[in-house]
């Protein structure tokens, strides 16, 4: 089984004067071929670091990320197998080159084919993402495209190499709702072509639209994971409960979010403890992930 696996992955960044910040702390999960998983969390939860670890833009400080049983560092053709779509469509294509060049160049390098053949494949990729007819788009530079068109061009670049795994890091958060929905629909369609998707978002409703399974990340650790409707309908972790309650849903009455920004986290404690209304002394030694029922797991002393 082709899988992208995180095994006890930790990533610590070093700051000035010997300070360190652990962005990802002992994260384990897997993404199987053809699967669609959402990684949900707030700013600073480590979502983007996970994305960068999955594409080898960062190396883990501890633990391993592996693809089909092989550590990522040893995978020679990683960019052909795992691709990423970035959050900011305005800065993720080189504005010096035409859209066509940005897409066809990697194809020519990968497949060792002539430019005309690579060009044909680039056109097909543009067509696939809805930039039709593709020829005029090939000649444009990114500054001539709208935000939605740029993100489509980014996706075309990513799928042109036919990767089996796609990491999408908040691909719609800088776009208008309707434009963003077009991108979400595109991701749903691409995923139907047996491409596994790791969809990173802060928006639980968007996660539900795209993914089947959800992983909830809080301050670098996975606090809950499971089938997305299970997690939304029966959130177990106090953080997930707050997250579900705070996500706007016109069908439900407004529940004001609770105050309290995370300030200091005591070393070793459950990272949510400073904000948690149900904390006890037992939160000092957080438990490992506990499977509550098939596929639904949580990391909280309430479920010991």
């Amino acid at each position: 089984m082709l899988e992208l696996v995180f095994d006890q992955v930790t990533k610590t960044f070093r700051g000035p004067n010997g300070t360190t910040a652990t962005a990802v702390d002992g994260v384990s999960f897997h993404l199987a071929e053809g699967e669609s998983v959402a990684l949900v969390g707030e700013s600073g939860s480590g979502k983007s670091t996970v994305a960068r670890l999955a594409t080898r833009l960062e190396r883990p400080t501890a633990g391993t990320v592996s693809l089909e049983g092989m550590p990522l560092q040893a995978v020679a053709d990683l960019p052909y197998r795992v691709q990423m779509i970035f959050q900011d469509p305005f800065s993720s294509l080189n504005s010096v080159h035409t859209v066509g060049y940005s897409i066809q160049r990697p194809i020519a390098v990968k497949e060792r084919i002539s430019s005309p053949k690579a060009r044909l494949k680039a056109c097909q990729a543009l067509q696939r993402v809805g930039l039709t007819p593709p020829e005029p788009f090939m000649e444009k530079r990114v500054v001539q495209l709208s935000g939605g068109q740029r993100q489509r061009a980014n996706i075309a670049r990513a799928i042109a190499l036919s990767p089996r795994f796609m990491i999408a890091d908040e691909p719609t958060s800088m776009l208008d709702v309707s434009v963003g929905l077009g991108i979400l629909n595109l991701l749903v369609d691409l995923r139907a072509e047996e491409m596994a998707l790791l969809f990173i978002t802060h928006n639980l409703a968007a996660a539900r639209y795209v993914a089947d399974r959800v992983i909830v990340l809080y301050r670098g650790t996975i606090v809950e994971s499971g089938a997305i409707d299970d997690v939304i309908q029966r959130p177990l972790h106090p953080y997930t409960q707050d997250l579900v309650a705070a996500t706007p849903d016109p069908a439900l009455p407004f529940v004001g979010g609770r105050l309290g920004d995370p300030e200091t986290v005591e070393v070793g404690w459950c990272p949510f403890a400073p904000r948690c209304t149900r904390r006890t002394a037992r939160c000092e030694t957080p438990i490992l992930r506990r499977v509550v029922e098939s596929g639904h797991s949580v990391r909280c002393t309430l479920y010991e």
Partner: protein, 334 residues
């Protein structure tokens, strides 16, 4: 607190009234019709949300209401009445005694525009001292109270902006806007860059303070589900104009305008059936050359000949209104 000054024609409890407002941006390529024929009113203690996508005129309207438009923007016609007094055409000097004192705005990304070199408390104190006589010590003490009111700690008066999270900085700018006890608070995308839990907490705080002090709130956001859950009334803008208004509940249960329906349908739901949603086809209108008829007609599934020829008037039905020639025809397909 909303005492109508001149009071002419103001309905009971009305504090802000906008009538026939047109705003242009005069550019080298021509005149951009950013806001057209905008009309609405705000009652004391009411939270009204303005929804719409980028470029529909939401922020331009907010700036116009607060007398903050600068060239190339200009008000072509219309009135912005605060307590019966028309603010359009007032000198900057006269406007200064109204802005912040009676109508306060938290502009988009205001939380990133606090001065990095001054303590938060001093920035709030400066704002107060610019408008009211008093000592710095008194102003700082008032700032402590304001921070506490918006859910921060009193000790945050001594904090620098970089020491605070985004949510805390946003609370601080809201505290600053409320410092002089305004009648109207305008919030332009106040929670857009924040996490949902922080967003819910801030909106909860605004609702509580509204209950306590009775000011009116104009809340601008692209997030229609958020408005549906948190405000009393909603105005939906498209292409610079008002296409629909109504109670939040009414718009949720019975959206009339095809644009409102399409916009509602573009937000994936958190609960309920997981069906494929369709994005609104086409692009928003180019306001340099606005379409002759309904601005939404080129993208509208219901549009007919009349829609392309003539701009529909706002048809009022009770407390709901929609500017559409054919909304009744579309209801069955809701």
């Amino acid at each position: 607190m909303a005492t109508p000054r001149a009071g002419e024609g103001l309905e009971r409890g009305e504090t802000l009234r906008v009538q026939g407002l047109d705003v242009d941006y005069v550019t080298e390529e021509g005149v951009v019709a950013a806001v057209r024929d905008m009309a609405f009113s705000l009652r004391a203690g009411e939270i009204v949300g303005i929804a719409g996508e980028s470029g529909c005129g939401k922020s331009t309207l907010a700036h116009a209401v607060c007398g903050l438009l600068r060239p190339p923007a200009r008000i072509r016609r219309g009135r912005v009445e605060l307590g019966g007094q028309d603010l359009v055409g007032l000198s900057e000097r006269a406007m200064r005694s109204i802005r912040w004192e009676r109508i306060a705005i938290v502009p988009q990304s205001a939380m990133n525009n606090l001065s990095p070199v001054l303590r938060v408390g001093d920035q709030i104190a400066d704002a107060m001292l610019a408008h009211r006589p008093g000592t710095r010590a008194e102003a700082r003490e008032k700032a402590r109270g304001l921070l506490q009111m918006v859910g921060m700690s009193r000790r945050h008066v001594a904090s620098y902006p970089h020491e605070l999270s985004g949510g805390m900085r946003q609370r601080a700018v809201i505290a600053m806007a409320l410092a002089l006890n305004p009648e109207v608070l305008v919030l332009d995308e106040p929670t857009t860059a924040l996490d949902v839990i922080v967003q819910a907490a801030i909106l909860g705080t605004i609702r509580d303070l509204r209950d306590q002090f009775g000011f009116a709130v104009l809340l601008i956001t692209h997030d229609l589900p958020l408005l549906l859950q948190t405000v009393d009334r909603i105005l939906v803008m498209y292409g610079g104009g008002l296409v629909e208004s109504g109670s939040a509940d009414g718009i949720w249960r019975r959206p009339r305008h095809p644009y409102t329906r399409a916009l509602l349908g573009a937000f994936p739901p958190l609960t309920g059936p997981r069906a494929r949603l369709e994005a609104i086809r086409g692009m928003p209108p180019n306001l340099l050359r606005p379409p002759a008829g309904c601005a939404f007609a080129p993208r509208c599934p219901l549009a007919g000949e009349a829609c392309r020829r003539q701009r529909p008037p706002l048809a009022v039905q009770g407390d709901a209104a929609a500017a559409c020639w054919r909304w009744e025809a579309g209801e069955g397909e809701g």
